[in-house]
């Protein structure tokens, strides 16, 4: 087994004891974005800094990806494809982040429910590394 590598450098802190999504914050107007970028779409300044985002948020909306995505670009397992949840998680005071969800059960998903950041393996790359992505799961205590 190879090592665990992030799906993209700079998307989240990795490796880390307590990995976080890396967004950016505008030094002029405070707007928060994900992933981090230069330039602020809210006030048009180019003065931004990196910001590690919160780990808990609420489910703003969701769907379930019911059919296998085209590959490329999709890199996940298509041979044993199982539907997966996708949603936007509103991180309070920061930004709404789009992510895979750890459940694809429509009855387990409710707009407004608390969600926690998770990291999980998505596929194994050509070098045998386990590629890690971020996702959100329903919080244990609702």
């Amino acid at each position: 087994m190879g090592t665990q590598v992030p799906i993209q450098e700079g998307l989240f802190t990795w490796p880390s004891e307590d990995p976080r999504l890396i967004g950016s914050e505008c030094n002029q107007c405070g707007a928060v974005l994900f992933p981090a970028q230069s330039g602020c779409p809210k006030c048009a300044s180019d003065d931004t800094k990196h910001r590690e985002l919160g780990k808990r948020g609420s489910l703003w909306t969701w769907t379930i990806q019911g059919f296998p995505p085209k590959a490329p670009p999709y890199a996940g397992d298509l041979e044993n494809f199982e539907p997966f949840g996708v949603g936007y998680i509103e991180l309070p005071g920061e930004v709404k982040v789009e992510a895979r969800l750890t459940t694809a059960d429509k009855d387990a998903l409710k707009i407004g429910m608390e969600m926690d950041l998770q990291f999980l393996p998505l596929y194994v790359d050509d070098d045998g590394n386990e590629v890690i992505t971020f996702a959100f799961s329903p919080a244990q205590e609702q």
């Binding site: 799906i7 707007a31 909306t61 769907t63 379930i64 990806q65 059919f67 999709y74 991180l91």
Partner: protein, 383 residues
């Protein structure tokens, strides 16, 4: 109402759907020849062209088939608003006084299945596609899912939108899917992206549309039934809007480009939603038609539930929507889709829509196109 400066004097269309024996460009050429015949003119009379396709090559190459007349031909590439942008550009070229007669052309030919998204071209990292997030279908599922909860829209109303589309298309020889489908079958078909099933989504397709535009004061040279273009407006997204292919949405809620384009078009035309007799609204999926009714100002949020259940948007209803079957029944050749809507409205305003003709002599019609990465185009036509 402001005095229109531009008129549509000829229209042409290549049927939508799948035509294996013709390239996308050939379907565009076919549409141009139909439009020329409709106006009774020749290609050499056309002074300028704006044309585009998303997946079927550069439109200006079609002069090698239509004739090398040396005209000004500008390619347009603006995602799902390509056709709308070609029309907008042609409209402004005439309104500016630069030329008297020109053409807007859109055509396309896509591979089967959901759109394969080029994340790089979309300004997104590779991780987004690898992760399984680069699907336009997810956005539509998520937008209507939230909207249904906020505004009490039922699954039954989604099914009614699709059922209407296929029923309207039955009487449209240019449409792709012309077989009526019962609501139960729509609801029970494969769940592609909750709450949207297979028959609630349009599919990428093929087809072409061409529209000849002239100065309004010269329109009668070409046709007895000029249709005036009172407004054409295109808008992109602002802070706080929720758009397709977004790894993030602003924490602040805002309105989308449809609201902005609609307001701009009504202002240019000097009209309001109450002046419109029928509309073609972007229906990438059934929920989009419902949400776009409100975003374009034709009802309050939530009112759609009653409108759908009571059939108010049927051809014989109070406010007919997507009379030609919309994207749901025509499919979406991206470059041509916005022009198809205008083509349908010209037929309706001329009274030439046959079995799907809106009754009571409609005088003003509206089109709305929406697409990635958050653009909308609106036109208002009158006779």
């Amino acid at each position: 109402m402001s005095t229109p400066e531009v008129a549509i004097v000829g229209i042409g269309m290549h049927p939508f759907g799948r035509t294996p024996e013709r390239s996308g460009q050939e379907q565009g050429v076919y549409a141009v020849r139909k439009a020329l015949a409709d106006a009774g003119i020749e290609w050499k009379d056309v002074q300028f062209a704006f044309g585009g396709s998303a997946a079927a090559g550069a439109a200006d190459t079609m002069v090698s088939k239509l004739g090398l007349t040396g005209l000004q031909f500008i390619n347009v590439a603006n995602g799902c608003a390509t056709g709308g942008s070609a029309l907008f550009s042609a409209y402004n070229t005439i309104a500016s006084g630069a030329y008297d007669l020109g053409i807007a052309i859109g055509y396309d030919k896509h591979e089967r299945g959901a759109f394969r998204v080029n994340t790089k071209a979309g300004g997104l990292g590779d991780w987004y596609g690898k992760n399984g997030l680069a699907l336009t279908t997810q956005f539509f599922g998520m937008k209507i899912n939230r909207y249904m909860q906020q505004h009490d829209i039922s699954h039954s109303s989604l099914a009614k939108v699709s059922a209407k589309a296929f029923r309207n298309a039955e009487h449209n020889e240019n449409a792709w899917r012309r077989q009526p489908i019962p609501e139960e079958q729509i609801l029970e078909s494969d769940m592609l992206s909750y709450p949207l099933t297979k028959f609630m989504f349009c599919s990428p397709a093929e087809g072409g549309v061409a529209l000849l535009l002239a100065r309004a004061d010269k329109a009668h040279k070409y046709t007895d039934t000029p249709i005036y273009l009172n407004a054409a407006a295109v808008r992109s997204r602002r802070w706080g809007s929720f758009e397709v292919m977004s790894p993030w949405i602003a924490i602040d809620d805002g309105v989308g480009p449809t609201v902005d384009a609609s307001k701009a078009a009504f202002e240019i035309a000097g009209m309001g939603p109450e002046d419109i007799d029928l509309a073609q609204l972007q229906d990438t999926e059934a929920g989009a038609e419902i949400m776009h009714l409100a975003e374009n100002g034709f009802c309050e949020h939530g009112e759609q539930e009653r409108m759908m259940q009571q059939g108010e948007t049927e051809i014989g209803g109070r406010f007919p929507v997507n009379t030609d079957g919309g994207c749901l029944a025509n499919g979406e050749p991206v470059g041509a889709s916005g022009l198809r809507q205008v083509y349908e409205n010209v037929l309706q305003l001329r009274g030439q829509a046959g079995k799907r003709q809106v009754p009571n002599d409609p005088k003003v019609a509206y089109t709305h196109v929406y697409g990635a990465p958050g653009i909308s185009g609106v036109t208002i036509l009158s006779r």
